[in-house]
Amino acid sequence: MTTTAPRTETPERTAPQQLRVVGTPQRKVDAVAKVTGQTRFADDLALPRMLHAKLLRSTVAHARIVSIDTSRAEELEGVKAVLTGRDLPIPFGILPVSQDEHALAPDVARFIGDPVAAVAAVSEEIATAALDLIEVRYEELPVIESAEHAVATPDPRIHDYGDAGNMHKLIDLEFGDVEAGFTEADHVREDFFFYEGNTHLPMEQHAALAEWSPDGKLTLWSATQTPHYVHRALAKVLELPASRVRVIACPNGGGFGGKSDPFNHEIVVAKLAMMTGRPVKVALTREEVFYCHRGRHPTLMWVKTGVSDDGDIKGMHFRTLLDGGAYGSYGVASTYYTGALQTVTYHVERYKFQGARAFTNRAPCGPKRGHGTPQPRYALEVHIDKLAEDLGMDPARLRLNHLVPPDSVTANHLRIGTMGLGDCIRSVVEGSQWRDKYRQLPPGKGVGLACSSYISGAGLPIYWNHMPHSGVQLKLDRSGGVTVFCGSTDIGQGSDSILAYIVAEVLGVGVGDIMVVTADTDLTPVDLGSYSSRVTLMSGNAALQAAERARDIVARQAAKKLDVPVMRLAFAENRVFDTEDPEQGMSFAEAVQLAEAAEGTVGTVGSYVPPRSPGRYRGAGVGPSPAYSYTAAVAEVEVDESSGIVTVPRVWVAHDVGRCINPVTVMGQVEGGVYMGLGEALMEEMAYRANRGLVHKIPSMLDYKSPTTLDMCDVVTYLIEDPDPHGPFGAKEVGQGPLLPVAPAVANAVYDAVGVRIDEVPITPEKVLKALKRKAKGEDPRYGPAGFPSIEWPEATRVPPPWEGGDGSAADGTERTMLRGGSRGPVPEERQH
């Protein structure tokens, strides 16, 4: 396909039109395939002569690998290849500053489940049998069981890099003098919170299929949310030119962030395919998915806030300690995220954030829906609820009185555009009859309110460069059909459909006339991946630009033929016509034929780069976004004081989405987010048995509790639409934000119901009972952590807030610097998210 070069002059635009597709309910482009079982997920693929791979995983939490004897496995009939860490010595990792993983551990196993060897055989059964024949001798090392343990135990180090001992990352950022804020405040309070780790639990287990061609080309099909980064990792570890590596992301059977890292098994099957010359597939078991993890970081938090009598936040000091597990993953970004978005909902005059991420011998944590922000959001929203009570204010009123204004810059130099949180709060307060219920329901019943915000894509890419975050190519031809090519990955959220809706809208054709080709590094321009709620905004803007350029070409030729100015033309109902005389026109296909005849093959490109953010200090790379979504929720709970069981009959949720491209998919994301938040609030946890060498206690869906139909609450949803100038047709994110307010809303409602504070998620019956017991004894009626360990923080980076004359730079003049990727050694400074 040839593409038309971007035009430098601004072309004459066609007549403004009413929206016909955007904002109306549409089937997703893949809906029929999904309801007929025709969608091909990674494990549904098979190739002739395909081998099956299995990974041998460490049975100890921390150990030096003394020896691995694979000879007996190699002799088993049907085994075609056996791999160990020696065969894949080059490290990888999602972030350039944390290249700390190996496809197979070469020297040290760092958690139970860490892969140490792999087998390819003619059947899965033989591969599994071969694993039993591999003899690994481990020399056990002391095990770091938790973040607090890591703080107290600098030696032995789990990794030979990081900011100190077993501290992977230490952050200290100060925006104004918070101590002065506390002095100025009328009331100061501090609280401790803990948010337990939990996992994504996608219904589809990870799977991958690799094919090696003797002409030196590797193809990998995988259940991945980030084919672009898998592409990078494969090229690096296998030492292949990236141009000879093709990664195809299959439709994901659920992701939620759990398929966002390049994974061991993807590299292993690629290597095995190269060694054997045969296609090699791996399909992880559910147990293995728990070892892949990359889920929510268990996070201990301390927050101290000083407020005026009317609730104005004069100063806030927030500390987080994250249990990162055994590897870096997105952890540096996760750590920054635990401090980045506290300032974007309510005005914070001075803000200090100190964050630490520890390495421990647990399955690696990473990005789960809300990435690093559900934990501090839970803490902040419960803390605000307590502050409101201290001040004798309605917590809804306190929040409404201190909203961050639209089109403003926060203390930590995040630029806020549209801001619909006020409308969100008013919707759920009115809908839930908050004023008749708050502190007025009978004992055992309660309501709680919480709010949140999330990014619509990160302002900076993982590898800092000036290239587009998302690219789209369009092919138009004489059939009247249009094909959209984009690197974006549909993980069930409907990103393929968004491309089709936007192009159909601009070109005035039916959604069914659009073909969508996505997530194939050979065929589609780069999109960075389905993470950070970036896809609708970024690939949507790229598609919008490509479609407008295509419309310009077609309009130019149609206008000539009809002998009317371009600005009088409209594109609708598969026609191009004169708005002043709608009978005068032609079919869209005829118009494309005119363009093809006059200008040659018709194709366009579109791309998207986020706007520059005002923050220029070290660490300013996490938090900026083209647009922030806002959410408010009221949860109604019933607490059984004899059992401690909390049930949630209903949640009212309002989400500021800017504009719905398709209300049906927006509703689905809101309800799904509330569901996942409810699971985290009440039951989901990655539990470990410390006394069994950290064996993952419950690597199964039966024991990892997630909400069933009998646990799920009713949800009353309000969609708040105030189009944001940065979003395509005004759209902001919805994939992650609605999860955030659920846990704190439930915690606040439990307090309203029975007068105990559960400052630790999940809110299990055991914790509620313990708090009730304390209350009965006249003790502090709460359950939660009582302290925060002493950590040697680095010297603070001091950045004056905008209202103190700050220009986004640090006071000492240090600026953000370029990333240097690829080495495990010290690197200057991270700029990733």
């Binding site: 997703k28 999904k34 494990d43 049998a129 996608p202």
Partner: protein, 179 residues
């Protein structure tokens, strides 16, 4: 970690009626119905989520009853009829449940969808007018991580109404939220 399994057993010939068509297939004695469908018959519409009977994803209809195909051995199904998602559509037309799942976004990632569709189909064959509580009860063994189940309930209710011959449409609130 997975234990070694004996792969030396000879395959056994069985007859199934799959989506209405008689099929003869040679199966390993230890192969589950799930494995027989996916690996021997190429019917990959039936998904696996755990292989331990925990998630409901692999649900198929065996002699009219929804079962977890990961917990049933293929050889135990000799002579029985098996209905999978591939056989749900009525000729070229979708089943009403498939229509409403597609229209209401009850299938997001689509991975659990075949299991939900077949469980719901069985429910509606037994009870054409289930209450919301009966729907929840019937679907309680199927996990979905995307939807929060609400659009699934609405899709089942809408399909049920249409199958009863009513002219039912999705509610405004279901599509646009409360206004």
């Amino acid at each position: 970690m997975a234990s070694r399994r004996n792969s030396q057993h000879q395959k056994v010939q069985i007859t199934l009626v799959v989506n209405g068509d008689p099929v003869e297939v040679a199966v390993s004695p230890h192969a589950t119905l799930l494995e027989v469908l996916r690996e021997e018959l190429g019917l990959t519409g039936t998904k696996h989520g755990c292989e331990l009977g925990e998630c409901g994803t692999c649900t198929v209809v065996l002699d009219g009853t929804p079962v977890l195909s990961c917990l049933v051995l293929g050889i135990a199904c000799d002579g029985k009829s098996v209905d999978t998602v591939e056989g749900m559509a009525e000729g070229p037309a979708l089943h009403p449940l498939q229509e409403t799942f597609a229209d209401l976004g009850a299938a997001q990632c689509g991975y659990c969808t075949p299991g939900f569709l077949l469980t719901a189909k069985s429910l509606l064959e037994e009870n054409p007018s289930p209450t919301r509580e009966q729907i929840k009860e019937a679907l309680a063994g199927n996990l979905c991580r995307c939807t929060g189940y609400l659009k699934i309930y609405e899709a089942v209710e809408l399909a049920a109404a249409r199958m009863r011959g009513e002219k039912a449409e999705p509610t405004e609130e279901s599509i646009y939220g409360r206004r």
